[in-house]
Symmetry: C3
Subunit: 342 residues, 3 copies
């Protein structure tokens, strides 16, 4: 029996299957510091215990997307190591801030399968949860990926396509316990713009760009214990290029969005996401955002803002061609809810 | 109203103006570990809690220059994002060691303005302070930068050139509370040379060199939340080169100076500093020092040594040409006071 | 007197000499996070406090090899800065897990010297110990290196070749206090294979590869305060290549071995090791293992497994040519004992 794992193929998934992902992880100030070295992340609530306390939190959590990558990384060996493509995300919720000392593990349930008409691959849908050391949910999201079949001759399973909402209702967004933006310090946060200053349809060019280095995307991807070969082995692809983990681009874009959205402090909901085109070392990534919606919340002084975040190698505000396809320069199209002072 | 900030221009500064810089930061062992991964830093007081305790400190602080970069980085969006050049530093003081768990913020006061004769730019002087979570000063320094005008037609302000001392008096140097070098362990510190072994005028070639990588200077610069575009965006400069943050060179040089100055444990005063020439990835940086002065202090066993630290791509001990201009190979000329066992 | 050190030469070593190495270091979560960013390390006991506690430990220690590098790095300025070659290791023991907050220092005793017949260099053997803040041994190993003579004319010392065992007896392996694998969670650890599933002679191809970057090996090497010039200065070698620290390859290979040996949780003994060929940035490193032996231990549920770990740029399972010499592609041949659930 071979001791090494080749990962699962399409035939290995069945609706209802529950997969406990390996390698729990305890987070410390080390993960936080590395996140801030890898990305130009500056949202104050994730940078300062004092600022976080002034917003009603016990202390500064690790960045929302750091928690996401940490949970996501655990699923890679079981879900996407043989994936042809990451197709989408839905119903993502940040259910509880992750702080130093927390130990996270991840678990996924297969909620949908559909073989492709070519018989060589199929799509699987999973709901993944991240849990802390108390067994509390800290993160939950649906994603679907296209996975190769081991044997093209194996029979197709019954198609099950899961139900999920296209956009989370603002009333369903998880608000961290105690969050309170009534004494929010705009000077320390870096920008004066509050929730009421943003209009639906407004577009923001985040101006800055970051040229991606091999060492940086590999450090980032390893930190989340995502070990998919394509990110690390230059010989794995015929042109010698290492594919950059899509999550690296999400974090680059979110961090760049500080300039214009410094007060969109905490991502709490993920509605949808598409990795429109691959990214490679040497590419210079820029970002722009569009305000998709706004809503009030029950927490004091806290508003919710729904944003489209686009990472691109090209011009701001250009997304699709005349046929509705993503332009070649577009790397990421993310639809999320964040919390902002009103 | 545009949500993104272009930063301030010369017209936006006025003497007496106080700027509270954004994004406070809580430091942890993560920042320390990254500092030691990014620089060949080995000064024992910043490496070991045990060694620091043997010198009368509660525990090992983060490196003096890590504290400097942390405070400096906060000022960049407000002070130097549109700077044409960083012209100088003066009256720098490390007023209190920064330890794990401390949260730092920064504040600057404009203390001088002078429009250049070309009418297109001007020089501003600011005094920046870093403060901890108790509101205590941990760092203070003056710096001056040349900044573009938004509108060349705008009128020149009244010229104010601040007073500052060229060299801090040894008696004015801040000595960390409790610092005591009477039981100093030279073996653990790495070199036998004590304060009395250094003579004014003595020059030291620190021998080693470090070839600079893009990924490393970007990680370092981001860690301090310094987001100036020129350091990260290869398309921002016509030749595709990313300018390396001058502070990166300061830290490289200081760390290299361990070989010969292992006992110059703590930088406590910055008299002057010039970034003589730009540095780019691929350059190999070396360092040499010159002893400028020595003084006793009131702390037991603690002497002060004033050093010139030069980073260069060329030969040791060569600084200026016949006309007094820095040689092209010289990157940095720093004048500082450090504390050393007597 | 020159203040900078050129390091010791062969003449400077004598049997019985004890060298206290400089720069003790306090470890934190920062070192752990960096280790996981630099290597695809996933052994659960080093990743999660909860998992470590379920195995009877107080909390998750830093990776076994991180502790090794930390101690090894301290010896470089005194032992190997002028080494022509690192020739071997023996009798390595991990005597106590290293946890956050521990401060490590290192001490070496010269236990053998032998001048080479060419009169230009010689071999020295040292036993190095790593100690924590309580003075307890945490690591011990013998290594021998070939060192240049300062003066070829200086007389040869009396040859002393130390005694050491080729392979540690399983009964002599240090088992961390309290270690208990009876409630071991194989799902969280990542693989189902237990001690009894491995047969002596079995070979495992760890499948994945990592292409090495300059920035990464330098960050790693600096983190352990190993400042040997050849790793950092591209101008130090005529072809502009920076030699990669051999320990970086050990850690890459060990981390890759997770795929197939996820349950070989803790390295506790080092029998032998050879850096067969140098490695440079751009090389893609792969790894394979061979089971050399198995033994029971006194700890509940804990078995010992003796493994050969080979890092290579070439094919798995190819080690030596017909004359018994390492193939050019082979980078590392390591012989160690690890602890595994039975």
């Amino acid at each position: 029996m071979s001791k090494t794992s080749q990962g699962r193929f399409f035939e290995d998934y069945a609706v209802g299957q529950v997969i406990e992902h390996a390698v729990p992880r305890t987070v410390s100030g080390g993960e936080r510091a590395l996140y801030h070295a890898l990305y130009p992340a500056r949202h104050a609530i994730y940078s300062s215990d004092e600022f976080a306390a002034s917003c009603g939190l016990d202390r500064s959590p690790i960045d929302d997307l750091a928690a996401f990558h940490l949970v996501f990384g655990k699923t890679v060996p079981d879900i996407s190591v043989n994936a042809i493509a990451n197709l989408g995300y839905a119903e993502g919720g940040w259910l509880r801030p992750v702080i130093e000392g927390d130990t996270l593990r991840a678990i996924s349930e297969v909620i949908g399968v559909k073989e492709n008409s070519n018989g060589k691959s199929g799509v699987i849908w999973v709901r993944t949860k991240g849990l802390n050391q108390w067994g509390q949910d800290v993160l939950s999201f649906i994603r679907w990926v296209m996975v190769r079949k081991r044997d093209p001759e194996s029979p197709a399973p019954e198609t099950v396509i899961p139900q999920y909402v296209d956009v989370l209702e603002a009333g369903d967004l998880p608000i961290p316990e105690g969050l309170d933006f009534e004494d929010y310090n705009f000077a320390l946060a870096g920008e004066p713009h509050r929730w009421g200053d943003y209009e639906v349809g407004e577009q923001i060019d985040h101006v800055d760009g970051v040229t991606i280095e091999e060492a940086e995307h590999m450090l980032a991807t390893r930190l989340w214990q995502n070990t998919a070969k394509v990110h690390f082995d230059a010989t794995a692809h015929e042109d010698g290029k290492r594919l950059i983990y899509g999550g690296h681009i999400i974090s680059v874009a979110r961090a760049l969005s500080f300039n214009g959205l410094a007060n969109a402090q905490m991502i709490v909901g993920l509605n949808a996401g598409a990795h429109a085109n691959p990214c490679f070392a040497g590419d210079t990534v820029r970002a722009w955002s569009e305000v998709l919606d706004r809503a009030e919340t029950d927490a004091p002084g806290v508003g919710a803002i729904r944003l489209r975040l686009v990472a691109t190698k090209g011009e701001a505000f250009k997304l699709r061609d005349g046929d509705g396809r993503y332009l070649n320069d577009v790397l990421l199209d993310l639809d999320y809810w964040a919390l902002m002072p009103m």
